[in-house]
């Protein structure tokens, strides 16, 4: 029988990270972020997934310093943010850019004025790079004089993206950048992100509900639920995962065999069968050739990790 493989499969110990947080906590009346730890390795894309209200935006705001945490430590580009002076933090943020879920610039600013504001804020902001990106994304020349309030959600997101990527940042944090975009616009946006990542020395933390986007882009996935990290997965480990469709006696047999360790297995009752999240689809297929085991998508993983029963 194959050895037990946990669902969480990232070991980033000793790896250089552009963003690392440990034990980050924040308590509200009706919600709490509980000792969240995650890392964005240098030169990689980390996808943050979780249902609405899981704490993704709160976590991102804490990581960027626009919200104070109750506890925990945040390391940005190798520096402990809590130990830095306010000025040093601001200087550090010259290398970090944020793309919010909604276009949050003052509504009366035009596209060009937003770019000028970025140019004044980020010392290495490239106006030419902005124009090139904005043209590639279809923002310029048509929307040059349009005010932020006149932009559609997609166009506003493109503006944010062009500003963030032209800012000279080494790390970009994006909160739901593809939500509400049509498939063509999403594809364009993902292409631009891939091109931006090409040099290999830049990192991206991106949250999204549209997990198919993350499948195309992310090297690692962090699953957040009710303010806790419930799984960390490498994209290769997601590739390996499977959903076994089992009847009750079959499930009991698999669990009894220890193929997926008891107390860690995630199962969900669907119709007459059980869906079992299997860490290694190929190994499962070799052990149980007679059972159906499909490839697991990120959505499958998310549903089973969040809604699944622990057996």
């Amino acid at each position: 029988m194959s050895s037990v493989v946990p669902y969480s499969s990232i070991d980033l110990q000793g790896q250089p990270c552009d963003l690392r947080c440990a034990g980050v906590a924040k308590r509200y009346k009706d919600f709490a972020l509980q000792a969240v730890s995650l890392a964005v390795p240098h030169g990689s894309v980390v996808g943050l997934i979780g249902r609405n209200g899981a704490g993704k935006t709160t976590l991102m705001r804490i990581l960027l310093g626009s919200l104070a945490a109750d506890a925990g430590r945040v390391e940005l580009l190798g520096q402990d943010v809590g130990a830095l002076s306010h000025n040093a933090r601001a200087t550090l943020r010259q290398d970090v850019a944020f793309v919010a879920a909604v276009t949050a610039y003052p509504a009366v600013m035009t596209v060009t004025e937003v770019a000028t504001m970025y140019q004044l804020a980020y010392p290495v902001f490239g106006m030419d790079a902005f124009r090139e990106l904005a043209t590639r994304l279809g923002l310029l020349p048509d929307s040059e004089r349009k005010q932020v309030r006149e932009l559609s959600r997609g166009t506003g997101m493109k503006l944010q993206l062009a500003c963030a990527l032209a800012s000279g940042a080494r790390l970009v944090v994006m909160d739901e950048p593809t939500a509400g975009l049509d498939p063509i616009a999403r594809d364009e946006l993902l292409d631009v992100l891939r091109a931006w990542m090409e040099p290999g020395d830049r990192s991206l933390l991106i949250s999204s509900h549209i997990t198919s986007d993350l499948e195309k882009l992310a090297d690692y996935l962090v699953v957040l639920d009710e303010g806790r990290v419930i799984a960390e997965l490498g994209s290769d480990s997601v590739e390996r995962m499977g959903i076994a469709r089992l009847r009750t006696p079959e499930l009991e047999q698999v669990l009894a065999d220890g193929h997926v360790a008891r107390g860690q297995a995630r199962v969900l009752h669907e119709g007459l069968s059980w869906n079992l999240l299997v860490p290694d689809r190929a190994a499962f297929g070799r052990s149980y050739p007679e059972y159906v085991c499909d490839r697991a998508t990120i959505d499958d993983c998310l549903v089973l990790l969040v809604k699944g029963e622990v057996r």
């Binding site: 705001r61 626009s66 850019a97």
Partner: protein
């Protein structure tokens, strides 16, 4: 910090026409009422009101923008400190007040010139220096008022603080009404007596400027602390 001043400038510039129109709509009937052949100071009145109205409108307008669409959260992710966020706003408001004082003095002078052309009566035509003094004085009062009110805007946000911020200002504006002036006759007379005890208003304006500058700086530091303690 330059980026934030630039953002405030764009917001104020775009909204300037609206602010100016609102101020003029309020201003015109008050000037007309003051041009009844008794008060004889429509130019001074126009100057004072325009300084106050425009500066207050711009200040409230840019604070309102902060809360619209999460801009105040977004700007904190940019390479700026909290101190820069607050001091950029204070710098901009002070600049607006200064510019409005100059503009309002010019407006007051034009009103003084224009009223006789339209058949109006100026019982006591005011000279340029008197209008400049009025503009300066009212600028100081407005800036002092904002220095007292801005910490409240930073602590509570403009949505919650708007009423508390504008109510004292609206109450002060009631002094322009005859019945209110009559009711406050004694207090106003005492103030006038106090003001006339100075041989020249210039020293008062200079001392007032220093006092308002100190109050403004103290207000900036208080706003910074209050803003830091506020959960956005």
């Amino acid at each position: 910090m330059r980026s934030l001043i630039y953002a405030d400038w764009i917001v104020a510039r775009r909204s300037f026409l609206r602010f100016a129109l609102v101020s003029l709509v309020i201003l015109c009937p008050i000037i007309a009422a003051s041009n009844d052949g008794t008060s004889g100071a429509p130019g001074v009145m126009a100057t004072c009101l325009f300084v106050t109205m425009l500066t207050m409108n711009v200040a409230l307008g840019i604070f309102g923008t902060d809360e619209a669409g999460d801009w105040q959260q977004c700007r904190l992710t940019m390479p700026v400190t909290l101190h820069q966020v607050v001091s950029a706003r204070y710098t901009f408001v002070a600049l607006v007040c200064g510019a409005t004082m100059v503009g309002a003095a010019a407006l007051g002078w034009l009103v003084e010139l224009a009223i006789p052309l339209f058949g109006g009566v100026l019982t006591v035509p005011r000279g340029g220096s008197e209008i400049v003094m009025a503009s300066w004085g009212m600028g100081l009062v407005t800036l002092g008022y904002l220095a007292l009110g801005m910490p409240m805007l930073y602590r509570l946000g403009v949505t919650k603080a708007r009423m508390a911020f504008t109510a004292p200002f609206l109450l002060m504006a009631l002094i322009a009404l005859e019945p209110v002036r009559n009711a406050l006759h004694g207090v106003l007379n005492s103030l006038e007596g106090f003001a006339s005890s100075f041989s020249s208003p210039w020293p008062v304006l200079l001392v007032g400027s220093v006092a308002v500058a100190l109050l403004y700086v103290a207000s900036l530091h208080l706003s910074e602390r209050l803003y830091a303690s506020r959960e956005l």
